[in-house]
């Protein structure tokens, strides 16, 4: 198989489509484009793409609604594209089932990173699952032994810190909304959102070189957190 993964871009702006086509094709992706939500839906059905890039502001249907509809029957990763200042839109899209988002304007590097993360989770969602070992240049998580070490030294994490870390690792590279994290870690989405911030700060203090300039535990302002990976 020589053909790269198939990326479907649903975007009404021609300039954006041109840029995306150039960037993706030059990196070995196959490219498929749609201008409207309707067209996009048809292409998802007919071509079953590996990743969908979708602008939130489509002429015929709200991107949020399209995400919801697609999620009814398709598990294809969806990355939404939106502008800064529309954090609520992003959160809603993510909660509706989108996998990640890109904020305009973005560079090729960011774009490719997001697509790769989405593809990786799509293909082998198992390789970061329980029992596996997750390793960064600085620290290491051994889920089999429930152990976290920084440069060889075992670091003690509280159960909630550990739980939070495991969830971040399981979705490494992907953005996770406050809502989702609270639900996963505290089992209660309506838990006080600052619990999460406090625990995240604790993780940073334990697993970051400089907690004021995090390399791994990245804040997505107004949306949630992301474990930077790779």
């Amino acid at each position: 198989m020589t053909a790269g993964p198939l990326v479907l871009v649903i975007e009404d702006e021609a300039q954006m489509r041109r840029f995306l086509r150039a960037a993706l094709e030059s990196h070995g992706f196959r490219f498929l484009e749609a201008v409207t939500a309707q067209e996009g839906t048809a292409l998802v059905t007919s071509h079953n793409p590996d990743v969908i890039l979708m602008d939130l502001g489509l002429p015929d249907l709200d991107g949020l609604e399209l995400t919801r509809r697609l999620r009814d029957w398709s598990a294809t990763p969806i990355i939404v594209i939106s502008a800064r200042g529309r954090e609520e839109d992003k959160v809603r899209a993510l909660d509706a089932g989108a996998d990640d988002y890109l904020t305009k304007p973005f560079g090729t590097g960011e774009l490719l990173a997001r697509i790769r993360v989405a593809l990786r989770h799509q293909e082998g969602a198992t390789d970061t699952k329980s029992g596996a070992v997750f390793e960064t240049p600085l620290w290491r998580l051994d889920q089999g032994r429930r152990e976290v070490s920084v440069q060889g030294t075992i670091v003690h994490l509280t159960p909630l810190e550990y739980k939070l870390l495991v969830i971040l690792v399981r979705h490494a590279g992907k953005v996770l909304t406050h809502h989702l994290l609270l639900k996963e870690v505290w089992g209660n989405a309506s838990a006080q959102p600052h619990y999460l911030r406090v625990y995240m700060a604790q993780l940073r203090h334990k697993l970051e070189e400089d907690p004021a300039r995090p390399r791994y535990f990245i804040t997505e302002p107004g949306v949630g957190y992301r474990l930077r990976w790779p």
């Binding site: 800064r84 200042g85 954090e87 304007p105 560079g107 509280t158 159960p159 909630l160 006080q192 959102p193 600052h194 619990y195 911030r197 406090v198 995240m200 700060a201 940073r204 400089d210 907690p211 004021a212 300039r213 995090p214 990245i218 804040t219 302002p221 107004g222």
Partner: protein
């Protein structure tokens, strides 16, 4: 003989008048001498003709009184449905003014102009409904009998012996564009009456029988004919005057009628009205208020008010002035000041000696009138009987009488001690002194007592034979008389002085009240404050509850402020709205919507009606007295002027603000267009070079060009983001979504975002571990930090370090971004936070001067503060202080598995 050349102004006025008449709605009155002459029939007949001409005619009210001819004629017209009003437990049908106005026909038929509306209607009288219809631009046909005409009321009563209760002011009939006399000779009318063609209600049969006598009918017919002739004459004169045919009268007569509480005043007013109509002049009804006014009974005061109102209804101007003891000079002064040509006064029948003693107003007026004519109308005996009764004077306390007695006793004692009985002249002087003292201290009546006692004591003690009241020498009688007279004179004079002083005090109080009000109003800063002080002043001055209603943008009134007792039902608001729209007082105590709980006065300022003042009397309605009322009106107009002043000030302020904004927008636009063009220029240049000469450029240079395209794009992005941010902040579109956040998180966000720009810089971050969580919006606060860091990078040399520190005071947290650059120029500390302002020492770095303005906007939206200062060791620092708003909710304790 040359025709008189009309004055150009008058010509213009004539044209305007003609236009106004053309435009304004037409009133036609079908005028008759008595019921049964066929007015309604005539009206309906003409209405049919109009309808045949294609005019939209509807019936407002037509009373067919069961007459089949009339009823038949009324068919074929649309009728405005009547509304039903509850009256004493039953529902009464009444003409629905609002429905008629909504329907907006071209012509409406309103039978029985003199009808009194059911209580609860908007107006008391149907003629008021008609005026409002005319104002609304609807033509009106109406019917009227001569006996209902206000100015003829007395005459009709004299002829027929029946007092008509339902009157129509003459001005309404004068307003008519056409008056058609519906005439029927008395014989025919009586014939119709016998045939049962005239509607006669059973309960009134007796009165009606008295009414429909041939003599009455003849007289009434003559009255009606004369009235119609007068109308026609007036119209003709108006026409002649307007066409410049002939000068019909001189400067125009101006009549003055003096009214008082006396019943005669009603006749005076009506007579003056007739006289004024005949002469074609205007007239003024005057009441001179003296100290005595305070002592009139409530009934009398109400009557004075009623007389003035009657005059107003009959088309007079009214005036109330204050006068001294003798009102003659006051009346004459008023007359001269107002160019009065004729004065009408009443002469109540008085006994001759009284007149000789006190003088008469009539004589006084005639003597001082100069070239003003004085008309005297004499009252008859019956009217004398109803002479106004003065309320009893305030009783002097018994101690005053005691003082009088004591003073005489003292004078007697002193007299007998100091002088021998033969020095009678000196003794008399002592008594005079005593009387004078009593008069000065206690007024006239005690002084009279003192005089009498003095005479008695003087006689008893000092006139031989001593210790008897007998008088041996007849000359002493003269001394007694002189003593008595002196006492009376001194008493009367002091009494006058006291009265005048009281009056002056009263006036002074009034002036002071007004002055106080205007001072308070002038000191009020906002409309709320102004309205409140107006309400307070009115409430204090008149012992009432007050409210002020001002219109909103749609000219609907809303109660801006009100006393607690004021409750605004829809009905009360409706009355206020009516007052606002028509500019006339309404509600309780007025002719319009008297059913309302409160009285509403329009707030009339120079530019029109600015609002309405509502006054709700507590208990007794004090402000219905003329003086209180005029004072209340003065209060209202003061308030109106103040409201208008404030309104103008607001508008000025608004205009200035708009100009400032406009100025700012222009500056912003020019600054932004410059800042946008610079990166665009670089991008365009680099891209076109790459596109056209790619082969000729070495690869390293190509990369450089690509890099500059990317950098410039980012710069543009930053600028556009800033622009959007400032716009959203200013329009209030930004909502701050606060969450308890560690400062470290925000600092981390900003440092990561600025990673590229900060590359190679030393950034010292010092955030104590014990820093509390801060309630903030991370998206917005990140922007603040990014802007501050960006500034630090831009304004300092590449090698100088940047510091980020924070501390907490317990109630707030302060975050500092400090640099080691040149610092701020003096005076820049505050200035640089303004939009489009850049520091005086900024270098060549581009920037629209929005960054710090955005920072301030965001921080202030958080309830915080941002300041700039120079550091002692050099460089600038920016301090962001955010309030903590109490401690964050605690974290649930976490129990570790297998905790040690």
């Amino acid at each position: 003989m040359t025709p008189e050349r009309p004055d150009p102004d008058a010509l213009l006025r004539k044209v305007q008048d003609a236009e106004a008449r053309e435009k304004r709605a037409k009133l036609k009155v079908f005028f008759g001498a008595s019921p049964g002459v066929g007015k309604t029939y005539a009206m309906l007949s003409e209405a049919h003709e109009r309808k045949a001409m294609g005019i939209d005619v509807v019936i407002g009210v037509v009373e067919s009184h069961g007459r089949s001819e009339t009823a038949a004629l009324a068919e074929g017209f649309e009728t405005v449905p009547a509304c039903e009003l509850p009256y004493r437990g039953i529902f009464m049908k009444e003409f629905d003014l609002e429905a008629a106005k909504q329907r907006r026909p071209h012509l409406i038929l309103m039978d029985e102009l003199a009808h009194t509306n059911v209580q609860g209607s908007r107006h008391d009288k149907r003629w008021q409904d008609v005026l409002e219809l005319l104002d609304a631009g609807i033509d009106v046909f109406t019917t009227l009998n001569v006996q209902h005409l206000e100015s003829l009321r007395d005459v009709v009563a004299q002829i027929t012996g029946i007092v008509v209760r339902e009157n129509v002011p003459d001005t309404v009939v004068e307003r008519a564009d056409e008056v058609e006399l519906v005439d029927l000779p008395p014989e025919d009318l009586l014939q119709r009456l016998r045939e049962g063609k005239v509607y006669v209600p059973d309960q009134a049969r007796h009165a009606i029988d008295r009414f429909f006598r041939k003599g009455n009918l003849l007289a009434l017919r003559e009255l009606a004919l004369r009235q119609t002739a007068q109308n026609v004459d007036a119209q003709m004169r108006r026409y002649m005057a307007s066409e410049g045919i002939q000068k019909t009268w001189g400067a125009g007569d101006r009549l003055l009628v003096c009214v008082g509480p006396h019943e005669l005043s009603v006749r005076l007013v009506r007579a003056t009205r007739r006289l004024a109509a005949t002469l074609g002049g205007s007239w003024v009804a005057l009441y001179v208020e003296t100290a005595r006014h305070q002592r009139y009974t409530a009934d009398d005061q109400a009557r004075i008010e009623a007389h003035l109102r009657l005059a107003e209804q009959l088309g007079a101007e009214t005036a109330v002035i204050e006068g001294g003891i003798s009102i003659g000079p006051d009346i004459l002064r008023f007359a001269q000041e107002h160019n009065i040509t004729k004065i009408v006064v009443g002469k109540p029948a008085r006994s001759r000696w009284r007149e000789m003693l006190k003088g008469s107003l009539v004589d006084e007026l005639i003597r001082g009138s100069g070239d003003i004519d004085v008309f005297v109308i004499t009252g008859d005996r019956g009217e004398e009987a109803s002479r106004p009764a003065l309320a009893p004077r305030a009783r002097e306390p018994w101690t005053t009488w005691l003082w009088a007695v004591l003073m005489v006793a003292a004078a007697s004692g002193l007299g007998s001690l100091l002088f021998r009985p033969s020095e009678l002249a000196d003794i008399v002087m002592i008594y005079v002194l005593g009387i004078a003292l009593v008069a000065a201290r206690h007024g006239r009546r005690p002084s009279l007592l003192a005089s009498a006692l003095s005479v008695a004591a003087y006689d008893y003690l000092f006139i031989p034979p001593y210790h008897t009241f007998a008088v041996s020498d007849f000359r002493h009688i003269g001394t007694f008389g002189i003593l008595m007279f002196t006492g009376w004179l001194i008493g009367t004079l002091t009494e006058r002085i006291r009265q005048q002083a009281r009056l002056a005090r009263l006036r002074e109080q009034r002036t002071a009240a007004l002055l106080r009000l205007s001072k308070e109003l002038a000191a009020s800063a906002g409309s709320m404050e102004l309205v409140e002080s107006a309400i307070r002043s009115v409430a204090a001055q008149f012992h009432t509850e007050a409210a002020v209603l001002l219109p909103d943008a749609n000219r609907r009134l809303t109660a801006l402020r009100k006393a607690p007792a004021f409750t605004f039902t829809d009905q009360e608001l409706g009355v206020a709205q009516w007052v606002f729209e028509h500019g006339e007082p309404g509600g309780r105590g007025t002719a319009t919507l008297p059913g309302a709980k409160a009285t509403y006065l329009p707030l009339r300022a120079s530019g029109g009606i600015v609002g309405v003042m509502g006054v709700l009397p507590k208990g007794e309605a004090q402000w219905t007295e003329p003086d209180q009322r005029s004072l209340l009106e003065a209060f209202a107009s003061q308030t109106a002027l103040a409201v208008e002043r404030l309104d103008l000030a607001d508008r000025n302020e608004e205009a200035r603000r708009r100009m400032d904004e406009e100025q700012l927008r222009t500056t912003l636009l020019s600054s932004v267009s410059h800042d946008l063009r610079t990166p665009l220029g670089a991008i365009t240049g680099a891209a076109s070079t790459l596109l056209e000469q790619a082969e000729a450029i070495p690869e390293a240079t190509q990369r450089e060009l690509f890099r500059s395209i990317l950098d410039e794009s980012k710069r543009m992005h930053r600028l556009v983001t800033n622009l959007l941010d400032i716009t959203r902040l200013e329009s209030g579109a930004v909502t701050v979504k606060k969450a308890w956040t560690p400062l470290e998180e925000v600092v981390g966000l900003a440092l990561n975002r600025m990673e590229e720009a900060l590359a190679g810089r030393q950034v010292n971050v010092d955030l104590p571990v014990e820093l509390p969580l801060v309630p903030l919006d991370e998206v917005l606060m990140e922007q603040v930090l990014v802007n501050l860091l960006d500034n630090a990078v831009k304004h300092t040399s590449a090698g100088s370090p940047i510091e980020v520190r924070a501390w907490s005071t317990g109630s707030s947290v302060t975050l500092v971004v400090a640099d080691g650059g040149p610092g701020l120029a003096e005076g820049d500390e505050e200035r640089i936070f303004s939009k489009l302002v850049r520091g005086s020492r900024h270098g060549s770095e581009p920037g629209a001067g929005l960054g710090l303005a955005i920072c301030r906007g965001i921080v202030e939206a958080h309830g915080g503060r941002i300041q700039a200062a120079n550091r002692s060791q050099g460089g600038a620092q920016f301090l962001v202080t955010l309030p903590l708003e109490g401690p964050p909710p605690g974290l649930p304790a976490e129990y570790e598995e297998g905790a040690e």
